[in-house]
């Protein structure tokens, strides 16, 4: 019987970092020490999911699950945009499992039971200025390719971590909630949730050990995540002699629906082959996933987060918590659904074209016979400019003419960069972003960012 579990995984953290010490003097309280990752104004949960998923090997992926507590759209599937950006098989279904942190666990559990699938979770966490959620929150995404190994865990396409078993506990109690339309989530008294979560965690933990026939000492490495920080800490102390996750993973904050995946990824990064791992998620009950790394698994070096500082005022503006005077320019027109649908490969997939002579055209030229996928192309800045007049959700617009390695040139907007950092010769890669929202329609396309 072939192994079933995780085949590949990758995470994504946005470029900007908010210094938590800046908050108190503006908001009158709150903040903390250190920094937290903050998504760019041109990122949302859909774009960050694409960023994580692109870093996985997607061979053989037959379905896609997407989870977030902050979907770009409701009543419209967001996973289809991710599907389009990844250029997955049209026959592969794409599902959202949205709304809460536990959604991402459910999606992972369902996908692990099925054929080869991509499971991606992404979140953008905000709180009212000065709130604990603001300081403890974190933006990011985690993607997993799961399913069956092709040949019992050997070589590429093999399972690197097998599912050993699950434990679960479900209870209805109001610890954290948000009514749609409210700007922030609310919580009941902390000690109430702590008690319920620790109990649920213990129940799920015992359930998992029973289901897998393991003892606590058999678990080499574990991570506990959840929106109730004290509950996580208390649960950890009650079960483990030492802290389950050392160092940086905890200080990057709570990333909502992406938190379980990010924690699992850090576990896998650190694990040697043949280790038993446990992921505990305290979210509206508790879930425990027990995995064992296979011989095909290799630990990965910890990626030091590349981050540039972001002023608190800019963060507030990006999150819509601070409304500033717009320029005296017309707001952009909404994209046409029919035009965007016709050109979905270009718009979502960054697929150009090439003619018989091999000349690359971006956007694709109607007379060319062959498609030319360019999302993974790298290039060089030939010339650039900084436009302080153009409309932008976050002016100024930094714009460059990029010549791509292997052919093709496109004038394109740059992101994740300060104007002073761009030069002729800067090397860039493409990233999937949201240009703006007009008339409630999110306008997705690609920008270039410096390769770091």
């Amino acid at each position: 019987m072939p192994a079933r579990g995780i085949v590949d995984y990758a995470t994504y953290r946005p470029y900007r970092r908010l210094d938590l010490t800046e908050i108190a003097s503006v908001a009158g309280g709150g903040g903390g020490r250190g920094t937290r990752p903050v998504a760019s104004y041109d990122e949302d949960t859909t774009t960050m999911a694409v960023a994580a998923a692109r870093r996985c090997s997607l061979d053989g992926v037959g379905s896609l699950w997407f989870s977030t507590t902050t979907p770009a759209y409701v009543d419209k599937t967001n996973a289809t945009a991710i599907h389009a950006a990844l250029r997955l098989d049209p026959a592969a279904p794409a599902f959202d499992a949205n709304g809460s942190v536990r959604s991402s666990v459910g999606a992972l559990r369902a996908a692990l039971a099925g054929a080869r699938s991509l499971v991606v979770a992404s979140d953008l966490r905000t709180g009212l200025p000065g709130s604990p959620d603001e300081a403890a929150g974190s933006d990011g995404a985690a993607a997993f390719v799961v399913g069956e190994g092709e040949d019992e865990g050997e070589g590429d396409g093999g399972v690197i971590a097998e599912v050993v078993g699950w434990g679960s506990a479900t209870a209805e109690f109001l610890d954290r909630w948000r009514t749609p339309g409210d700007p922030a989530s609310r919580v009941w008294e902390e000690r109430f949730g702590e008690g319920r979560y620790v109990a649920a965690g213990r129940a799920a933990w015992d359930d998992a050990l029973k289901a897998t026939g393991l003892a606590a000492d058999d678990i080499a490495r574990a991570a506990v995540v959840g929106s109730h920080t004290r509950a996580c800490t208390q649960f950890e102390r009650s079960v483990f002699a030492e802290p389950a996750i050392p160092g940086s993973a905890k200080t990057e904050g709570f990333a909502g629906a992406a938190a379980p995946g990010l924690a699992l990824a850090r576990l896998l990064d650190a694990a040697a082959p043949g280790e038993t791992l446990a992921l505990v998620v305290l979210a509206d009950g508790a879930d425990v996933l027990v995995l064992r790394t296979t011989d095909a698994h290799r630990p990965r070096p910890v990626e030091e987060p590349v981050g540039a500082p972001l002023a608190y005022g800019t963060y507030l503006r990006w999150r819509g918590l601070l409304t500033t005077e717009p320029p005296r320019r017309p707001e952009p027109a909404r994209p046409s659904a029919s035009a965007a649908g016709r050109n979905a490969d270009w718009k979502f997939g960054f697929v150009g074209s090439q003619d018989d002579a091999g000349t690359v055209h971006l956007p694709p030229a109607p007379l060319d016979a062959e498609a030319r996928p360019m999302a993974d192309a790298t290039g060089t800045v030939v010339t650039f400019t900084v436009d302080r007049l153009a409309y932008s959700p976050s002016p100024p617009v930094v714009f460059a003419v990029v010549d791509f390695d292997g052919g093709g040139r496109l004038p394109v907007e740059l992101t994740d960069v300060d104007p002073a950092d761009v030069a002729v010769g800067t090397r860039v890669e493409m990233t999937f972003r949201k240009l703006f929202t007009a008339d409630g329609i999110h306008n997705y396309f690609w920008k270039a960012r410096p390769i770091r």
């Binding site: 320029p327 005296r328 320019r329 017309p330 952009p332 027109a333 909404r334 994209p335 046409s336 035009a339 965007a340 016709r342 050109n343 270009w346 718009k347 055209h361 971006l362 956007p363 030939v382 010339t383 650039f384 400019t385 900084v386 436009d387 302080r388 007049l389 153009a390 409309y391 932008s392 617009v397 714009f399 003419v401 010549d403 052919g407 093709g408 040139r409 496109l410 004038p411 907007e413 002729v424 240009l435 306008n443 997705y444 396309f445």
Partner: protein, 396 residues
């Protein structure tokens, strides 16, 4: 390609131009009436005497009724044309061809733009539904990329080039200060312009065309009929147009130091007019200085000087009002202002005044002579790498 031209077959018998300004008190109707009334008077004609009309407006109205209504035209053919910032010149082309073809005896080309009703800063394009992947960059930012490219290709120090561009703007302000119809009528020094904050690449607001409302008009007829109306018509020597295919934007060989559409367009115009050395055969030129680096490159693309030398020629004053070849003696888009549909005809208006000795004394060029009596007008629309270009040549 067969571009035979209509040299010496069509005469311009009247040209008019309103003041270009933020005409808060005038709409399209008033601007059209102002321009056409003066044009009719100049030729001794009424609206009904003119057989056909071409109305150029980029985004101030749709269909010929925009002109027919305020003028109360009865049963007249009126065609609204648009070709970005070359719209006014496009109206002239069509009117001239209609008359040359013998379809009509007299025709009027009118250009108008009312840009100050939008409430927005700058010139903003009318939104056409797209898939959302199009550039949102301003034209200023796109043209701003010409400056560093030019500096790099020809080894000009960037700070020096900044002063060259300011010199171009300063020249145009000097000329505009001597033009009662211009939007900006104040001289500005190179230092003043260099001191302004950059808003698009290295360009400041004063490297950009002025934004104004306005209208201009011209009446044409067959050259053999011109004597019935005026003693000193202008004669059309060339009308040339090229629409680019946008390849420059995505062609790695394009280096932002030239506008190939303009080079092709100028070649055709010079062939039509029989000009081999524009620098000495033209008495003046009105060119499309939407931004200062644009005018710099135009000097080379239009063949007024060798490639890579325009910057030095600008500093030497070759294109000043009293220079070897006066460029934009009326102040150009920079200080006259740029109501999109009217600009091409506004340029013709300056040629009309200067070639016939009617320009005001403090703005009169001294290059006009019986052997040097040609004027060139040029418009472009679009961006480096994707533009349309018009070149017209007129003489006495």
């Amino acid at each position: 390609m067969s571009s035979h031209g209509i040299k010496d077959r069509v005469a311009i018998i009247s040209v008019s131009c309103t003041r270009f300004a933020e005409h808060w008190d005038k709409g399209v109707d008033e601007l059209l009436l102002d321009a056409t009334t003066d044009a009719f008077k100049g030729a001794g004609l009424t609206a009904d005497d003119v057989d056909a009309y071409w109305l150029g407006t980029a985004q101030s109205g749709m269909s010929g009724m925009v002109l027919a209504k305020p003028l109360g035209l009865e049963g007249k053919p009126v065609t609204r044309v648009e070709n970005m910032c070359a719209t006014g010149s496009e109206a002239l082309r069509q009117a001239a061809y209609a008359v040359a073809a013998g379809a009509y005896d007299t025709a009027m080309a009118v250009g108008v733009e009312k840009v100050k009703d939008s409430g927005y800063q700058g010139l903003n394009a009318f939104p056409i539904p797209t898939d959302g992947t199009n550039r949102t960059l301003t034209a200023a930012a796109m043209f701003s990329m010409v400056a560093p490219a030019y500096a790099q290709r020809y080894g000009v120090d960037p700070d020096e080039l900044r002063r060259v561009l300011a010199r171009i703007a300063s020249k145009n302000h000097y000329n505009g200060a001597r033009n009662p119809k211009a939007l900006f009528r104040r001289e500005m020094s190179v230092d003043q312009i260099c001191g302004m904050p950059a808003v698009a690449g290295g360009l400041s607001v004063f490297d950009c065309a002025g934004v104004a409302d306005g209208a201009a008009a011209a009446i044409v007829c067959r050259v053999e009929d011109a004597h019935r109306y005026v003693d000193d018509p202008l004669i059309i020597k060339a009308l040339s147009f090229v629409a680019g295919n946008g390849s420059g934007l995505t062609d790695p060989a394009y280096d932002y130091t030239t506008f190939p559409e303009i080079v092709r367009c100028a070649e055709d115009a010079y062939a039509q007019a029989g000009i081999t050395d524009p620098r000495t055969e033209l008495a003046m030129a009105e060119v499309h200085d939407c931004f200062t680096p644009t005018e710099l490159v135009l000097m080379e693309d239009l063949g007024f000087c060798e490639r890579g030398t325009a910057w030095q020629q600008v500093l030497d004053g070759a294109f000043d009002l009293d220079g070897d070849l006066p460029v934009n003696p009326d102040g150009g888009l920079k200080s006259f202002g740029h109501p999109t549909g009217a600009s091409g005809l506004r340029m013709l208006y300056e040629a009309w005044l200067q070639l016939r000795g009617e320009a005001p004394d403090d703005r009169r060029i001294s290059t006009v002579s019986p052997t040097r009596n040609l004027a060139l007008t040029h418009n472009l629309g679009g961006y480096p790498g994707e533009m349309v270009s018009f070149v017209g040549i007129f003489g006495t």
